[in-house]
């Protein structure tokens, strides 16, 4: 969140840029995002990547914490089902984070704010598309203040 000062938080402004925290698994999605980079695919720079060992290691607490610290959207991305480096980590992620998604929506948080994707190391273009779509969907929502910390 060190770049907080650089973000334009005014949703009405044409230059408003949603902040995304992206938890990317080390084996697939993180490599996928690297590929997007080295392939010089153009995509918005809104996502702050956090590399994790496995999508299955993403605790609901990470997601809630990102929102608490002011993320407008949270992305969790891992290997495709069947391709998990740890065999079944993404199965666990899918079930656990489905519950997080449902509960957030239940309390009235906009469903667009939380997203999951399966992106392999070879899918640089897909990763770029996922981020592009996410930014497009977040932009009309404006900044997220439901879960954000009140200023001290």
């Amino acid at each position: 969140m060190s770049r907080q000062g650089d973000w334009n938080l005014n949703p009405m402004s044409e230059t408003y840029e949603p902040k995304i925290v992206a938890f990317l698994c080390k084996w697939c999605s993180s490599a996928g995002s690297d590929l997007a980079g080295v392939s010089r695919i153009q995509y918005p720079a809104n996502a702050t990547p956090i590399t994790v060992a496995c999508s299955g290691s993403v605790s609901p607490q990470y997601v809630l914490s990102a929102f608490k610290k002011g993320a407008d959207g949270v992305l969790v991305s891992g290997c495709h089902i069947g391709d998990c480096h740890y065999m079944e980590g993404n199965y666990h992620a899918r079930r656990k984070l489905y519950l997080v998604k449902e509960l957030l929506e239940f309390t009235g948080v906009e469903p667009e704010r939380f997203r999951m994707s399966w992106v392999s190391a070879a899918e640089g273009a897909k990763f770029a598309q996922v981020v592009r779509d996410f930014v497009d969907d977040l932009r009309p929502l404006g900044s997220q203040d439901k879960m954000r910390n009140e200023p001290t």
Partner: protein, 342 residues
């Protein structure tokens, strides 16, 4: 009908034979009509046990507390502990067994099937009685019968019964060593009826509602304290187990991970209640004690019910159904929902 004499006799017997170390049940409370939890260890104390619609408490909590107390004193128990358990309470014992909190032989379940009675919702009752405060409550097969300063008051049970009892699917304690009462399905309302009613609201209305609830929360932690499944040694909102030695630096103290602050602010309250609901997913058996004890009436049951229904519909998972079940979030199926993932 359940006869309290039968429960007392059984409790006395197992205490006399020494089959169990103590029995956790309810006795007449000192505050108004409500029963209170009690742990008895002498056979003659069995006479003080009661069973009526104010036996709301899930006594498996006391089981967990007693285990903690013994552990603190460095004592081990060589005999099982008995508890009186309604259908829902017995399911939470099942979850505790499933999580290896106890061994089956450490627990003796005196199951009571609530049959048609359920338990009372004191807030609903207060609305109906409008200031009148009863001294006792009983169930006579159809009605709740209250003794008040203005004489006897009868109310159809379903009018003032707790929501969770109206929606109860299994009032019969499947896990038991002895059981009182018949297996009856009540089904006064469809399962998850209150949840479905709430879900009629649109997203923005739901947020307005929860925002108000989270702003009202005073973080007294009664919801956590009363929950038999909130037994974590260190809760995510406490930060007490950082070992502080003379070498611990100020930076280390300042930088210890605190996911949720102690402040009763909306965002921290949101984090607390979401975390708690998620941690109870697949474990909460809907005893609804958290909702009952909340002094500021936050309908916490809705959060837990939401995840309970998702688990049931999407993952075919029923909390407390069997000791042999794997935990909801440490298991998966090939056909778990996937369409929400890009």
């Amino acid at each position: 009908m359940i006869r309290i004499e039968d429960i007392r006799t059984q409790a006395r017997d197992i205490l006399e034979t020494g089959e169990v170390r103590a029995v956790i049940g309810w006795r007449r409370g000192s505050r108004g009509m409500a029963a209170e939890p009690v742990l008895i260890s002498q056979p003659e104390e069995a006479e003080s046990l009661v069973w009526d619609p104010t036996c709301f408490h899930n006594l498996s909590l006391n089981l967990v507390q007693e285990r903690k107390r013994l552990a603190r004193k460095g004592m081990a128990s060589n005999k099982p502990l008995a508890l009186v358990a309604k259908g829902c309470d017995a399911r939470s014992v099942t979850v505790l067994l499933q999580e290896n909190h106890f061994r089956r032989e450490d627990v003796y379940v005196l199951g009571v099937s609530c049959e048609g009675s359920g338990v009372l919702d004191e807030r609903k009752l207060a609305r109906v009685l409008d200031g009148l405060t009863p001294d006792s409550a009983a169930y006579d097969g159809d009605d709740y019968v209250f003794q008040t300063e203005e004489g006897e008051k009868r109310l159809p049970a379903r009018e003032v019964m707790a929501d969770r009892c109206l929606e109860c699917r299994s009032a019969y304690p499947r896990l038991n060593n002895a059981v009182f009462g018949e297996e009856k399905t009540r089904g006064l309302e469809a399962p998850f009826a209150a949840l479905s009613r709430f879900e009629q609201n649109r997203g923005a209305e739901r947020w307005d509602f929860w925002k108000r609830q989270f702003e009202r929360c005073i973080r007294c932690f009664a919801c956590r304290s009363v929950c038999p499944l909130c037994y974590c040694e260190e809760c995510v909102v406490d930060s007490i187990r950082l070992e502080v030695t003379p070498e611990t630096t100020a930076d280390e103290k300042a930088n210890r991970i605190r996911w949720i602050e102690r402040s009763a602010s909306r965002s921290d309250n949101f984090g607390y209640h979401m975390t708690r609901a998620l941690h109870l997913a697949g474990r909460c058996i809907d005893c609804a004690e958290c909702e009952r004890v909340c002094p500021v009436h936050i309908p916490l049951r809705l959060l837990n019910n939401k995840l309970e229904r998702e688990a049931r519909e999407k993952f075919g998972y029923e909390p407390g159904a069997s000791v042999d079940l794997p935990a909801l979030v440490s298991s998966f199926r090939d056909d778990d929902p996937n369409e929400f993932i890009r």
